[in-house]
Amino acid sequence: MKLKSRSIAASAALLLGGVISALLFCLFVGFIAFYGDDGSVAQFDIATEIKRSVENDDARRPHIKPTGRLLTFQRQFPQLWYVVSTPQGSVSYGEVPARVLAGKGVWDPPQIRSAYGVRGDELRLELSARSGAESDVLIELGGAIYTSAEVVFSLLREPDMTSTLLAAVLTIIILTTILVVPALIVRPVRRAAAAAEEIGSKEGARLPVKGQPAELRPLAVAFNRALDRIETATAEQRRFLSNAAHELRTPLTRLRTRLERVEDHKMKAELVGELQSLSGTVTMLLQLARLTSQPTEMNRIDLVTTARDATAREVPTALASGVDIEFRGDMPVMISGSAQAIITGLSNLIRNAIQHGGAGGQVVVEVEAPGRVSVIDFGPGLGVAYDGNAVIEPFARGKQDGSGTGLGLAIVAQVAALHGASLSINETPGGGTTATLNFSK
C-alpha cells in the first residue's frame, strides 16, 4: 500500500494564497464601501442599458423598448428618470427635474445625474448637456445610486479595466505564493535530508545544527542524538564481539599447541579434526553475529569482480582438497551491495561446495546478468531444496551426517537478507547442489 504523503509546503502555499486573496478582496470591497457610489457607476450601467433599448422610428425620433435589465433597473430605482434626445425629438421616463427640461445643464447641482453622448457603439460622458451636437443620441439620467454591494455585483457582472487589473494582480500574487512558499519551506528540509543522506554509515558524521532553521533544529538534534545512541551501541557490540573472539580463540589456540604434544598419531589426528571443526564453528558464529549486528555499508560494486575475488580466495582450499574450481562471468555486473559481506557469504557457499563436491570433484562459480551468482557442485547433493523464503535456522543441518553445522547457510541467508537478495538451493541437473544468490530484485 502506498502512503499518501501530505506536503506541508503545498498546504501552506494554498492557505497563504487563499488568505492573501481574501484579504485583497476585503480591501477592495472595503474601498468601495468607504467611497460608495456617487451615482456615476449606477448611471453608467443604466445608460448602457438605455442605449441598447433605444430604437429610432422612420422620422428618426427615438423610442424606448426597454430590455429586461432596464426594466429591472426601473423597478430597483423608483426615483430613476431619463431623457433620450436626438436632433429629431426626445423621449423620457420618470419624473424628469424641471431644470433638466429647461436645458440648464446636468452639472448643476452636481448630484446623481449624468449625461452620455452616444456615438456609434461608444458611450461618452458629456460635460455639457445639450451642447453635444456631435452626438447622435444624448442620454440624460439621474435618481439612481448603487449601494456598495451593488457596485461589487455590477463590477463582477461586467468587469471594467480596474477590476480586470485587480484580478490579474491577484492571480499573480497567488501563483507567486504557490511557487515561492514551498521553495522557502522545502529548501532547508531538502538540504537537511541531503546532509542526512550523506552521513550514510560514516562514523561520527552528524547533521549540522547551527545552520538549520528554528523549526528543523529540534529534529536535527534528535536525529543526532539517535545517531549517538546507535554508534555507542554499535561500538559496544563490536567491542563485545572482539572480546568474545579473543576469549574463544585464545584457548583454542592454546589447545591446538598442546595437541602437538600428543604422541598417539591416530588420537592426535582425531583431536585436531575436532578442534578444527570447533574453530570453524566459532569463526562462523562470529561472522554471523557481525553480519546481524553491524551496519553494512552499501556501494556500487561489480558482482563479477567480487565473486572472482571470493573464488580466488578459496583456491588454496580447493587445491588442498583436490577439487577443480572454475569461475564463469566476464562482463561487469553492477549491483548495490557490500563486497565484504558478499565475499563472506560466497566463501561459505564455495567451502560448502568443496566439502560436498568430494575429492576429484568440480566446483563452478558463475555470475550472470543482471545480478545472479551461483555456486555449483556435482557431488551427491544435499537432498534438500530451498526456495529462498523459509528462515534458515542456525544449526539446522541438511543431512544428519555430522558434517557442517548449518551455520554456513545461515550466514549466506543473512547476507542475502542484508541485500534484499534471494537465496535458493536446488539440485544441479545430473546431480549435485546449486546455490544461487539473486541480487536483481
Partner: protein, 224 residues
C-alpha cells in the same frame, strides 16, 4: 635467519618460538611491548611474528617503528580478532600478512615463508619456488641455478607469476603484465604463450608448476 616472536601467552609463545626455530632458524621470544622494543634495538631481524593484544598495549603501534628499520623485518600478525576492520588496521599499518587464531602449524610455517619470500623479492628482487628462481632486478630466470632463456612475453608472464608466487594471479593482471597499451590483445594469445612457457619449464626439470584456474587466473605452485 633471525626471528622474533612477540606473544604473551605462556603456552603459545614458547611453542611458536620452537616451531619457527625448527623450520626457519634462530628465534627469540618476548612477552611485552617494552621487551619487543628492546629486542628490535639489539639486532636486525628477518621476521617478526606478533600477537596484537599484549599486557602493555596493542602491538599495532610497533609496526610503524619496524617499517623504518633497515633492513626491514617481515611482519606476520597473529590475531584472535577476526573483525575485517581489525585486520585492515594491521595491514594498513604495514604488516605483511595476518593469520587468524587458531591456526595449523603447517599454515603458520607456510605463511612465514611466504612473507619472507615477498620481503626478499622487495629487497633483493629474488623470488623462488622449488628449484625455480626469478631475479626481478636482472629479469632473469634460473632452474637449479642454470639460466633459462625465454622469449620476451614468456619472461614477462613468468615474472608476473613469480612476483605473486603461491597466490592466484588474475588473468587480466597477466594480460596487463605482458601487453603494453599499444599492443592489440588477442584473447587466446596469452594461453598460447602460457602453454609454451609451461612446456619449457617441464622440459628443464622445473619442480614448480603453473596451475591454470579456469575463469580466475593462474597460480605458481610447488609440485611437491
Amino acid at each position: 635467519m633471525r626471528l622474533l616472536v612477540i606473544e604473551d601467552d605462556a603456552d603459545l609463545g614458547p611453542w611458536l618460538r620452537d616451531a619457527l626455530e625448527k623450520a626457519l632458524g634462530g628465534a627469540d621470544l618476548v612477552v611485552t611491548l617494552d621487551e619487543a622494543r628492546a629486542a628490535l634495538r639489539v639486532r636486525p631481524l628477518d621476521l617478526v611474528v606478533m600477537d596484537r593484544r599484549l599486557p602493555d598495549g596493542d602491538a599495532v603501534e610497533l609496526i610503524s617503528t619496524m617499517r623504518r628499520l633497515s633492513p626491514r623485518p617481515s611482519i606476520l600478525v597473529l590475531t584472535a580478532l577476526d573483525d575485517p576492520n581489525d585486520i585492515a588496521k594491521a595491514l594498513d599499518a604495514g604488516a605483511d600478512d595476518y593469520l587468524a587464531k587458531p591456526f595449523e602449524p603447517v599454515e603458520l610455517i607456510a605463511r612465514a615463508k611466504a612473507v619472507l619470500r615477498r620481503n626478499q623479492l622487495d629487497q633483493k628482487g629474488i623470488s623462488s619456488v622449488a628449484n625455480l628462481r626469478f631475479d626481478t632486478f636482472a629479469r632473469a630466470a634460473y632452474i637449479d641455478d642454470q639460466p633459462l632463456i625465454l622469449p620476451r612475453r614468456e619472461l614477462a608472464l613468468l615474472e608476473a607469476l613469480m612476483r605473486r608466487a603461491g597466490q592466484v594471479v588474475l588473468r587480466e593482471n597477466l594480460e596487463n603484465a605482458v601487453y603494453g597499451f599499444d599492443d592489440e590483445i588477442q584473447s587466446n594469445a596469452i594461453d598460447a604463450h602460457l602453454s609454451r612457457l609451461r612446456k619449457r619449464l617441464r622440459e628443464h626439470g622445473c619442480q614448480a608448476e603453473i596451475r591454470p584456474l579456469r575463469g580466475i587466473g593462474y597460480l605458481m605452485a610447488d609440485l611437491a
